[in-house]
């Protein structure tokens, strides 16, 4: 982690009143979070939120206690894919996260506003303040894993997350889209500046299987996730097809019912390589 302003990449243009002089903040005092995983990509729409959701569901199915921190304040997707419309509550200790049917804890800005399509027209400093509060003021309780769904870009939110939250590992999501690789590399370089530990890269939307002729259609071009992972010197976790079922269940708020053989393989690889079995009690 960056320990002083000299390590901060905005130091040269910073006016001196940096709202987050880099320092890790403590989680809410009733929380005990063992492992924090950030899901990032830099590029928009490659499937960060979908991967975060699937990852949460897989870990929960294996018996872990899981929470999801939706750090995409202006474009939150997490409540929708888990079908949560109830508002978050608060008591004298802090904010109480929502809980899904299967017991995954969630916090998102969309759980705090009246209508899901109300815009959040905030500038960066306020947005990153809120994301920090999702860490310092939310009563997560006992969690084996807290997953952070990052917004696209390498701006305020990822900066604040890397500066203030003790992230144990980063999962990068990419897609075979030519525009994605370049931007994903930017994000990986950014995370490296904060000495992030990479759990690996997942290539999403690698192909579509035609429901009629079952042919593999590589709609965005040749998948190249393994090469990209190698180029960036991070582990490759696997590829995922575009699956209409996932899109359908996400829209219906039922991602907890989604099952994918491909994703199970990815999660197994992730557990074997990085997560280990140490955190389950």
């Amino acid at each position: 982690m960056v320990s002083s302003c000299s390590g901060c990449s905005t130091a040269s243009t910073c006016s001196g009143s940096c709202p987050s002089v880099p320092e890790l903040t403590e989680a809410q005092k009733l929380s005990n979070v063992k492992n924090v995983i950030a899901v990032m990509s830099g590029k928009g729409g490659v499937g960060k939120s979908s991967v975060t959701g699937m990852l949460a569901v897989s870990l929960m199915r294996q018996g872990y206690k899981v929470g999801v921190l939706d750090a995409d304040v202006t474009g939150p997707s997490i409540p929708k894919i888990f079908g949560i419309t109830a508002k978050a509550d608060a008591n004298e200790n802090g904010i109480i996260p929502a809980s899904t049917e299967k017991g995954i804890k969630l916090i998102s800005l969309n759980l705090m506003i009246a209508n899901e399509d109300d815009p959040v027209v905030w500038r960066g400093p306020i947005i990153s303040q809120l994301v920090k509060q999702f860490w310092t003021d939310v009563i997560w309780g006992e969690l084996d894993y807290l997953l952070i769904d990052l917004p696209p870009g390498t701006g305020d939110v990822p900066i604040s997350v890397f500066q203030s939250i003790p992230v144990n590992g980063v999962i990068t999501v990419s897609s075979p889209q030519q525009l994605a690789n370049m931007v994903v590399r930017k994000a990986i370089k950014m995370a490296n500046m904060y000495d992030a530990n990479f759990y690996g890269l997942i290539e999403n939307m690698a192909y579509v299987e035609c429901p009629d002729c079952q042919k593999r259609i590589e709609i965005f071009g040749k998948p190249n996730g393994e090469k990209e992972a190698e180029f960036n010197e991070i582990p490759f976790l696997g590829e995922l097809p575009i699956d209409p079922k996932l899109a359908e269940l996400s829209d219906a708020g039922k991602i907890e019912e989604y099952n994918s053989e491909k994703f199970n393989q990815i999660i197994q690889k992730l557990i074997n390589q990085s997560l280990g079995k140490g955190t389950k009690e």
Partner: protein, 274 residues
């Protein structure tokens, strides 16, 4: 935005003197259109590039201002990634694509396109403002703004400080996406920026082998969404390799897609002229 009345940050603004910035006095930009969505990866940049080509085909002078500072895509889409911006006494000179579209993007100012830009919001939106007032766009009929995802700093700055004639909203056929696009439309409405209409991207896909139409996203609530938002549909674009290849190295020509885009451009111009 006309004045401070409709500004969402009015309550904690110290100046209350309208954020509208003066354009570079050498510029004569007649119309400004922003392409937005709120949601990431729906095809804003692709649509921006296609609309620019469509306007160019009408014989107009066109520029694209890449307002996505941390994830710029326009240099690749218009195949100008190897060009560099130069400065002149009138301001920074945008680069020009082979067919004559002027482009300004942060990636054209970077020595290496993969270098990340790790800036906080105020600096990012400052850069976007500079792309408007410190760039010598010269004479343009249309300037297209390719917006980043989100409704944060850049969206707010653009709507507060640039004279936007209208916005094109890009969506894909999914509830989860239209919910976020609705946020952007509501933001534009609050700030009194006209929304011209919607382009639905990745509407369907044609299997290259059996030619069967594949619906990746089963959602068919587009007409309901359009009527709820009181907006017109400008175009529906398929998901296909050809559109994905727009970002590639080869020359690009796709008559079917361009026909759809040409129709959208006609609708946009009609809207703006009225």
């Amino acid at each position: 935005m006309a004045n401070c009345e409709s500004c969402p940050t009015k309550n904690n603004c110290e100046s209350q003197e309208n954020c509208m910035i003066e354009n570079n006095p050498w510029n004569e930009v007649k119309k400004v259109i922003a392409v937005m969505s709120g949601k990431g990866g729906v095809g804003k940049s692709t649509v921006s590039a296609l609309l620019a080509k469509g306007l160019l085909n009408k014989g107009l002078k066109v520029g694209i201002l890449d307002a996505d500072i941390t994830g710029p895509s326009i240099p690749r889409l218009l195949k100008v990634r190897d060009k560099k911006v130069e400065s002149s006494e009138w301001g920074l000179l945008p680069v020009e694509s082979e067919d004559g579209i002027k482009v300004m993007s942060l990636n054209l100012l970077m020595p290496d396109e993969e270098q990340p830009v790790i800036w906080r919001g105020p600096i990012i939106s400052g850069a976007v403002k500079q792309f408007w007032k410190d760039v010598y766009w010269g004479d343009l009929d249309y300037l297209i703004l390719d917006m980043p995802p989100g409704t944060g700093d850049v969206a707010l700055t653009v709507m507060q400080s640039m004279p936007i004639n209208g916005m094109v909203m890009v969506t894909t056929p999914q509830d989860m996406v239209s919910m976020i696009v609705a946020k952007s439309i509501n933001m534009a409405n609050t700030m009194k920026i006209p929304v011209i209409g919607i382009i639905e991207n990745m509407s369907y896909m044609l299997c290259p082998s059996c030619k069967e139409k594949i619906k990746i996203f089963e959602d068919d609530s587009l007409s309901e969404f359009l009527s709820r938002m009181e907006l017109q549909l400008l175009a529906e674009l398929p998901m296909c390799r050809e559109i994905a290849a727009l970002a590639g190295e080869k020359d690009w020509d796709h008559p079917l897609v361009m026909k759809t885009i040409q129709e959208a451009v006609t609708k946009i111009m009609e809207y703006i002229q009225d």
